[in-house]
């Protein structure tokens, strides 16, 4: 049993990271009932933007470029952590504008459109950054290892997990405690009411999509030092995210957080006994849960069932 503890800990960490990945996805599904299959690609895009900001090679041999590269890594990283998600969010907004054509049609069309968008973004990334594996530079203070209770942990993983908790709480507070959150939640169930309150539903959707895409980009910046950065990382990400929100129940915020942790634990614990099969365990988990509970753990009825 005691040997299991580090695996459980690893699983929990992984689960929090999964929750971070699924956060933007949950938001968009919950409010707009759109499955954004480009979520993973926006995640990748965020990470590549961060890469470009930290690397700064596009600034060229100019004075600004030299000044920028002479700065220590920390301020560059912090800027990337802020600006890259914003850029991803803006890209998401462009996608939302295209997506408008599919509103009012079967959910299939939104799914297909974002699927095509994922392909396009991935190809654009190949075009812009090449096909090879890349690395995101990290500040010294969050790299390396740390000794905890006689076990070695990667400092960065702890930072990432902590950041995930922070982001989850911030999004939750935003949805629950601010007037914007109230409007967004109203938009999820009652678009009439949003109009009655005098808000522009189209703009609300644009902002929610931008926010969701921004969160995807943020997750990208945070996750990529752990998972590595390559153009098709998007596919590796979107499937677990999709799986987590269905497992948790479409439209349920905490459902998806709990599902993410369950998935993390199952991957972590399977990893202890059969490392080769660890990623497969999440699919089995999904099949078992959704096989018996059609709407996942905490799901409500949704238009996406049609």
């Amino acid at each position: 049993m005691t040997q299991l503890v580090p695996h459980i800990f690893n699983g929990l960490t992984l689960g929090l990271l999964f929750a971070l990945i699924a956060l933007g996805f949950t938001l968009i599904v919950g409010v707009m009932e759109v499955i954004n299959l480009a979520h993973g690609s926006l995640f990748a895009l965020g990470a590549y933007f961060a890469l470009a900001i930290i690397g700064g090679s596009w600034l060229g041999d100019t004075a600004i470029g030299e000044w920028w590269l002479a700065l220590p890594i920390m301020p560059r990283y912090i800027l990337a952590l802020i600006v890259a998600p914003i850029l991803a969010g803006l890209s998401g907004m462009v996608l939302e504008l295209a997506l408008r054509r599919t509103y009012g049609k079967a959910p299939l069309y939104g799914l297909l459109l974002t699927f095509g968008a994922a392909l396009v973004i991935e190809e654009l990334i190949r075009l812009g950054w090449g096909t090879g594996e890349q690395n995101l530079q990290l500040p010294q203070s969050i790299s390396g290892a740390i000794l905890l209770g006689g076990l070695i942990y990667s400092k960065y993983k702890l930072f990432a997990a902590g950041f995930a908790v922070f982001a989850i709480i911030m999004v939750w507070l935003f949805l629950e405690k601010t007037p914007y959150g109230a409007i967004i939640k109203a938009g999820a169930h009652d678009s009439e009411m949003v109009r009655a309150l005098g808000y522009d539903l189209a703009r609300l959707r644009l902002l929610v999509f931008g926010l969701g895409a921004g969160l995807a980009g943020l997750a990208g910046v945070i996750m990529v030092p752990i998972w590595g950065l390559r153009p098709h990382v998007g596919i590796d990400v979107v499937i677990p995210a999709f799986l987590i929100i269905v497992l948790g129940g479409i439209g349920s915020f905490w459902g998806s957080v709990i599902a993410a942790i369950l998935v993390g634990l199952s991957v972590g614990i399977t990893g202890a006994y059969a490392p080769a099969w660890s990623m497969m365990s999440m699919y089995i988990l999904l099949i078992l849960v959704v096989g018996f509970r059609a709407r996942g753990l905490f799901g409500k009825k949704s238009a996406l069932e049609n």
Partner: protein, 341 residues
């Protein structure tokens, strides 16, 4: 908007004029494919993928069940064909039967789980199962050869009793696949106008009403899924034979997505011939655009996005829109039945 089921009256012939034209096109292809600048192997790929696409559209277009994990059954067919050749015996019929049977088994099993699910839940369950098969094909080294897959799968001869035909040449193999494709086309056309097929289309349109007029909806969904997996298995077996190998990539999500894109771009949601147009367009785009630019997938992806936005009826819808006449040839000629009206 044109739809798959908006028929007025359909011919009850086995071979409709369109099928005849298509068969002539397929059988004459080796005569003109090189002169137009293509090569024989692309004909093989196109024919195999059309088999896959026609079977897939029974489920996707006709029954309205949006599977995003259909590459799995293509892969199961490919592995079954390879394993049969390598471990049981070199036999064309045996290999293809094994491919169809294995895919049917896998499809029937998965269908038990998914045929009670709807919409997005259905789509996700099919993805999850697709990933399970893909993972299994990578991890079960002993059977599947892991990431490398099964290599050096022999191309068995076609044994016609008295004489046997070698299929080692691509033209001979193409003819075999073309004949199978014609049979598949005739069967799928017939099936979609049979009681079974019409019930599937009724279920797509209105599941509730279908159960209120007495149909066990889940059984039909199960059967459609299994049937379409069988076609995927046949295509997979032929693919393994053409490639002389079977590897996990065939099962990847990428392939599953590709078939969805091809079927939609061609117009599979509104027309029987849509999947065929879609497959041909994809392979031509891959080779023609691919020879001009390395980023051809970007352009294909953009075209797909634009299609979903502005013309979800796909290429078949575009063609139908171009002229009323072509709309009629595409949408099945209205045929006067004998008793008239």
């Amino acid at each position: 908007m044109a739809t798959l089921s908006d028929i007025t009256r359909r011919s009850s012939q086995w071979i409709t004029p369109q099928i005849f034209v298509f068969a002539v096109f397929l059988l004459s292809l080796p005569l003109w494919i090189r002169p137009i600048g293509l090569y024989q192997y692309i004909g093989i790929e196109i024919a195999i993928w059309i088999i896959f696409a026609l079977g897939f559209n029974l489920l996707f277009g006709y029954t309205g069940l949006h599977s995003f994990g259909h590459g799995a059954y293509l892969g199961v067919g490919a592995y079954a064909f390879g394993l049969f050749q390598l471990h049981v015996g070199v036999s064309l019929i045996g290999g293809l039967l094994a491919a169809v049977f294995a895919a049917a088994l896998a499809g029937a099993f998965v269908a038990c789980f998914v045929s009670h699910r709807r919409g997005i839940y259905f789509a996700l369950m099919t993805i999850a199962f697709g990933q399970v098969f893909w993972f299994a094909s990578i991890k079960m080294h002993g059977i599947t050869g892991g990431e490398d897959g099964l290599l050096n799968i022999p191309r068995p001869d076609l044994n016609l009793g008295v004489y046997s035909v070698s299929l080692s040449g691509n033209t001979a193999l193409y003819y075999l696949i073309a004949v199978l494709l014609i049979i598949v086309t005739v069967f799928t056309w017939r099936a979609m106008n049979s009681p079974f097929g019409r019930i599937l289309q009724a279920i797509r349109q209105n599941e509730t009403r279908a159960s209120f007029i007495g149909y066990e909806v889940w059984w039909f969904k199960w059967a459609a899924f299994t049937l379409s997996a069988m076609f995927a298995g046949l295509a997979g077996g032929l693919f393994a034979m053409a490639q002389e190998s079977a590897y996990p990539d065939v099962m990847s999500l990428h392939q599953s997505g590709l078939i969805v894109m091809m079927v939609l771009v061609g117009g599979g949601l509104v027309n029987f011939w849509g999947p065929i147009l879609g497959v041909i367009l994809y392979f031509i785009a891959r080779d023609v655009l691919g020879s001009i630019t390395e980023t051809w997938l970007l352009w294909y992806g953009l075209m797909f996005v634009v299609m979903v936005m502005f013309k979800p009826e796909g290429l078949a819808g575009v063609l139908a829109g171009l002229s009323k006449n072509s709309a009629e040839t595409l949408n099945d000629l209205p045929v006067k039945t004998a008793e008239g009206n």
